[in-house]
């Protein structure tokens, strides 16, 4: 059945209202089961031995003493994870990241792992494993790693994207360039040019639930994995590939997920747990410590970015250039490329150019973090926009509106925009009461914009109608922010029944077709689309059954508000049949009633937001306090406004944490100094005011309900919104995030020194 994804303007009954989430009761009563909450008969405890060095050759691993310890059931090193990745370098990198192969590439890199009968025995066994290291020179700073004198992390890396092809390896994995027009001509036409350099430090997704899984591999190659993940189907494929298992024989069940924000799109301990289980022939449970989570998983890139903007006196930006350097940890990534794509996406600038450098350093392999790479580029560009406005003596918001991207604008990364919401969010900001709230001494207000692509991707859903007329909706995108509620609402809307009669579940990998990760704000967009299509298929079946019941042609049956209605001539006396009535007779009219859909959801609508931030800076300590904050974002269509607001508020808060205090601090020895929640300072409740939100709805033309992804864009503007507010409060432009008290105080001093 072919489906049309075009937006149709219609009045909704369920969509757009506020319903409680189906997982709510389990989560408030402690019944919800997360990664660490499963157990299996005879399970062992798995633990990982990690490198204490930033970069070292592993000369020898001696496990003999640990093997002799009573209660130890299996020990693995890279030799137990043979390289089956063939020519797939990306998979080979994942394998090497899961377990070091001859070299430890960062502090916290896994070197060996143990499974034992209990926690204490496993911990003791780790201490008995002897590893002989030869320390190698290391580099952790993105700019230093690009120097020709820097220690080389992989001899196989020759910079891609430069001509002529380099003859020597380096830590620069690739160079990207994109843009439109002629920037030299643009700058020549400019009346005012500003240039500034920015740095952002590395941050972690900071989900409260550590990575955890329970793995069980049988000698016949069948296996099960219970895991906290953003995508159990992808985990299945990756783990099967790394361990040489058949995809169909590895059943992966996603637990409730205790936060991910991109950090649970990558495998770390899961292949290790499977390998330990395979060797011991017993189930193995692994739960990372917080220290391990910080040292070995997640983080996002640290960056160094230069921005140059030129404009005419009237505020028209004639040229924009950004050069962006992003580190991806010890393995190559495409993080700078994403930075390039997003940097100027909010604006219609005829001449623009972005150059990205993807760089390797001795830090953990970078993982996606909510709108990956965009917040850093936005910090630089949106700060520079305010600097330019100041030079032009324009209001910063008017400069943005003057150059704002609209429908028809050629985006710097290639496409021409359809209907987008950036101009509407800026106008809403301008009209917002927040903009007129009075500022006290030492307070300042900043505005910044943000963009995220949002994605669609492979999706599969299964909708089954019970004989009592209640509906099971099986989806394969993990629920990270309330999507079970939104998807049940969509199913109820399509079928014309009450929300309470739909139960959405996350199906395991043996029960549904492949689904890509919940990433790129795709969950509600793509599973929503597949749910609509599945419901429409079910409606077709319902109509067939009604036609059969009535003994009339199918084309004489329509579906209206949860009922089959006979519409053809001469059927006027037939009473309409409810879904429940049709379902009750399904056993006699042709069997179970269901709808399925497998789709690659295209046409994800771009997400744009503008934020307003009021900050108070203590001029004597440099400490900044957020006193007011407002998020305005285009959601396309808010299925459940409560959860859309939740995404806006959560993303903004992560951005605020990044803006003010969150950062990885590495010592001279290349070791992470703050791998814990005490010294990696995510915002606490008393650090924040209420986060005000305003949802705009500019329908995405490529979704039946107009839905756009909403999960990520909200983390993009805060760094610059805070930076601009600090600049307006103090007169100092902060070029280095986080804008922690020592950095702000030093900048204030430099300003005083003139």
């Amino acid at each position: 059945m072919a489906h049309n994804n075009s937006y149709v303007d219609k009045k909704f009954n369920v969509v757009g209202t506020r319903f409680n989430r189906p997982d709510g009761i389990d989560k408030v009563t402690g019944k919800a089961r997360y990664g660490a909450d499963a157990s299996a008969p005879g399970q062992l405890v798995g633990k990982v031995l990690r490198s204490p060095h930033a970069h070292a050759q592993i000369l020898k691993i001696n496990t003999s003493k640990a093997e002799k310890l009573q209660g130890v059931k299996s020990i693995i090193t890279f030799e137990d994870l043979p390289d089956l990745t063939g020519a797939d370098q990306g998979m080979a990198d994942i394998l090497e990241n899961c377990m070091a192969r001859g070299r430890a590439l960062y502090d916290g890199h896994a070197v060996a792992a143990v499974a034992a009968i209990d926690e204490q025995t496993a911990a003791k066994a780790l201490k008995l494993i002897e590893v002989k290291y030869k320390k190698l020179p290391h580099v952790t700073d993105v700019d230093e790693a690009m120097l020709p004198t820097a220690p080389i992390i992989h001899e196989r890396i020759f910079t891609r994207g430069v001509e002529p092809k380099p003859t020597k390896p380096s830590n620069i994995s690739s160079r990207t360039e994109m843009g439109n027009g002629d920037v030299d001509a643009g700058f020549a036409a400019a009346d005012v040019i500003i240039e500034h350099s920015f740095k952002t430090e590395q941050t972690h997704q900071g989900y409260i639930e550590p990575h955890a899984c329970l793995a069980s591999v049988n000698p016949d190659g069948t296996a099960e994995l219970w895991v906290t993940t953003q995508g159990h189907f992808v985990f299945r494929n990756v783990c099967a590939g790394l361990l040489g298992l058949d995809i169909a024989k590895l059943k992966v069940t996603s637990s409730e997920i205790g936060g991910g924000f991109g950090g649970k799109t990558h495998v770390w301990v899961e292949p290790v747990a499977l390998a330990l289980s395979r060797k011991a022939n017993r189930p193995v449970k692994m739960v990372m410590s917080r220290d391990e989570v910080f040292r070995a998983t997640g983080p996002t890139s640290s960056t160094s970015i230069d921005v140059k903007l030129g404009a005419k006196k009237n505020g028209e930006i004639t040229a924009a250039v950004a050069e962006l350097r992003y580190q991806g940890g010890a393995f190559p990534g495409n993080w700078a490329m994403l930075g390039c794509m997003t940097a100027f996406a909010c604006y219609d600038i005829k001449n623009n150019k972005s150059i990205g450098w993807d760089v390797l350093v001795n830090r953990p392999k970078v993982a996606a973090y909510r709108a990956p790479s965009a917040p850093m580029a936005a910090f630089a560009v949106e700060s520079a926009m305010d600097m330019l406005a100041k030079e032009l003596r324009m209001k910063a918001i008017d400069l943005r509106l003057k150059n704002v991207a609209r429908e028809g604008t050629l985006a710097p990364y290639g496409p021409t925009y359809g209907p987008i919401g950036i101009e509407a969010t800026l106008k809403a900001v301008k009209a917002h009461p927040h903009m007129r709230a009075k500022l006290k001494p030492n307070q300042g207000r900043g505005v910044a914009c943000g963009f995220w692509f949002n994605i669609g991707g492979q999706t599969s859903t299964d909708l089954n109608i019970g004989v009592d007329g209640t509906v099971n909706l099986a989806v394969g995108t993990v629920d990270v922010g309330g999507s079970r509620s939104s998807l049940a609402m969509i199913a109820a809307e399509e079928l014309g029944i009450d929300y309470e009669n739909v139960k959405a579940n996350i199906a395991d990998t043996t029960s549904l077709g492949h689904n890509d990760m919940t990433e790129g704000s795709r969950g509600t967009f793509s599973s929503g689309m597949a749910t609509i299509y599945a419901a429409r298929e079910a409606i077709e079946v319902l109509k067939q059954r009604a036609a059969k019941t009535w003994g009339i042609p199918l084309e004489d049956v329509s579906w209206e508000e949860g009922h089959a209605v006979a519409t053809g001539k001469g059927h006027g006396n037939l009473p309409k049949l409810s879904l429940r009535e049709i379902a009750a007779k399904s056993g006699r009219t042709g069997g179970p009633i269901a709808g399925h859909n497998e789709v690659t959801a295209d046409g994800a609508g771009m997400g744009f937001a503008s934020h307003i931030c009021d900050v108070e800076v203590d001029p004597e300590t440099g400490r900044s306090t957020i006193v007011r904050y407002t998020v305005v974002q285009d959601a396309g269509k808010a299925i459940n406004p409560d959860y859309v607001e939740g995404q806006f508020q959560g993303g903004a808060t992560q951005g605020i944490g990044w803006a003010l205090n969150e950062e990885y601090i590495y010592g001279e020895d290349g070791r992470l100094q703050n791998p814990g929640f005490l010294d990696y300072r995510i915002p606490v409740c008393s650090d924040l005011p209420f986060i005000d939100t305003q949802i705009l709805e500019i329908p995405n033309p490529n979704h039946p309900y107009g839905v756009r992804g909403v999960g990520e864009t909200s983390i993009v503007p805060p760094l610059a919104a805070v930076g601009n507010a600090i600049a307006n409060a103090t007169g100092v432009r902060m070029g280095h995030a986080p804008m922690s008290p020592p950095r702000v105080l030093a900048a204030l001093d430099a300003l005083d020194a003139g």
Partner: protein, 286 residues
């Protein structure tokens, strides 16, 4: 790991003294259990003192207060008399960690963990607090400033433990205050901490004690800072001298929580602010 719950402080001291392996005292456990979890300590013996009679009591008398070694921060905060007499001590103790930590953390624990950044220690020193130290054989009373001798190090001998902390009776027209600087509002470790205790006579500062935390290997009593405000009504000149004396007394390190430069600077800033609070609590008007 052996776990013991002795019935007296003397018995606890005996257990600690006798143990040949690594022995640790457990009161609130907010530091010990973290070290256990991180694998920093591997105890052979843990002596839990919370079953000792009166060890969780706050006793007030004409001489002042005796605070049992297992009294938690939350209990200090709920004691109206103590809060009225020594608000600076109570606010310092209540700044340690979250409400959850407050449910367990104790003053002697904060003291004997011997972190330079301990919040309650400068306030206790400024207040003239003493530790009642019990050993297997004898008991002694030691000024709090003599307990910590360096990061992670105390002057207690093997087998000695703190049974209680005593605070003198607060003098009329006196006041104390503790302020610290942290990047977050809560759940943080002091980058700089400062306690000031002072007494007024006819609106003029007669006596003062100024103690800095987190800017040297131990909390430091800054006599020059006290001198800077004694005899003054806390005018701007006195405050500037106080700030300068505090900054000059700093001997900090650069670490993940703050730079030398920043700590020196902010010590002076906080000194002024803390002095104003203590001054007003003593009944002075600015």
């Amino acid at each position: 790991m052996r776990y013991e719950t002795p019935a007296s402080a003397k018995e606890a001291a005996g257990l600690l003294k006798k143990e040949k392996g690594a022995a640790f005292l457990l009161a609130g456990g907010t530091d010990l259990l973290v070290k256990l979890k991180m694998g920093i300590v591997e105890p052979d013996l843990v002596v839990d003192i919370k079953r000792i009679p009166k060890i969780s009591d706050i006793q007030s008398s004409a001489k002042g207060f005796t605070i049992g070694a297992a009294v938690s921060g939350a209990e200090l905060g709920e004691h109206a008399g103590l809060k009225k007499a020594w608000p600076g001590v109570v606010e310092a103790a209540n700044l340690i960690g979250s409400d959850q930590i407050q449910g367990r953390a104790t003053l002697p624990g904060n003291l004997c963990n011997a972190s330079p950044a301990a919040d309650s220690v400068p306030a206790l020193i400024a207040a003239g607090a003493k530790a009642i130290v019990v050993g297997p054989l004898k008991k002694r009373t030691v000024p709090v400033e003599k307990i910590m001798i360096g990061p992670g190090k105390t002057s207690l001998a093997k087998g000695e433990l703190i049974e209680a902390i005593t605070l003198p009776k607060a003098e009329p027209r006196s006041g104390d205050a503790y302020l610290r600087f942290t990047p977050r509002t809560e759940m943080d470790i002091a980058v700089v901490g400062i306690a000031i205790s002072l007494k007024l006579e006819r609106g003029v500062i007669k006596k003062a004690r100024v103690v800095l935390g987190a800017v040297a290997p131990t909390a430091i009593v800054v006599a020059a800072a006290a001198k800077a405000i004694i005899g003054s009504k806390l005018d701007d000149k006195a405050l500037d001298k106080l700030a300068a004396a505090c900054s000059a007394a700093c001997n900090p390190i650069d670490d993940k929580r703050g730079t030398i430069e920043y700590r020196v600077r902010v010590a002076g800033v906080l000194a002024k602010r803390a002095a104003k609070v203590a001054f007003q609590r003593a009944g002075g008007s600015l």
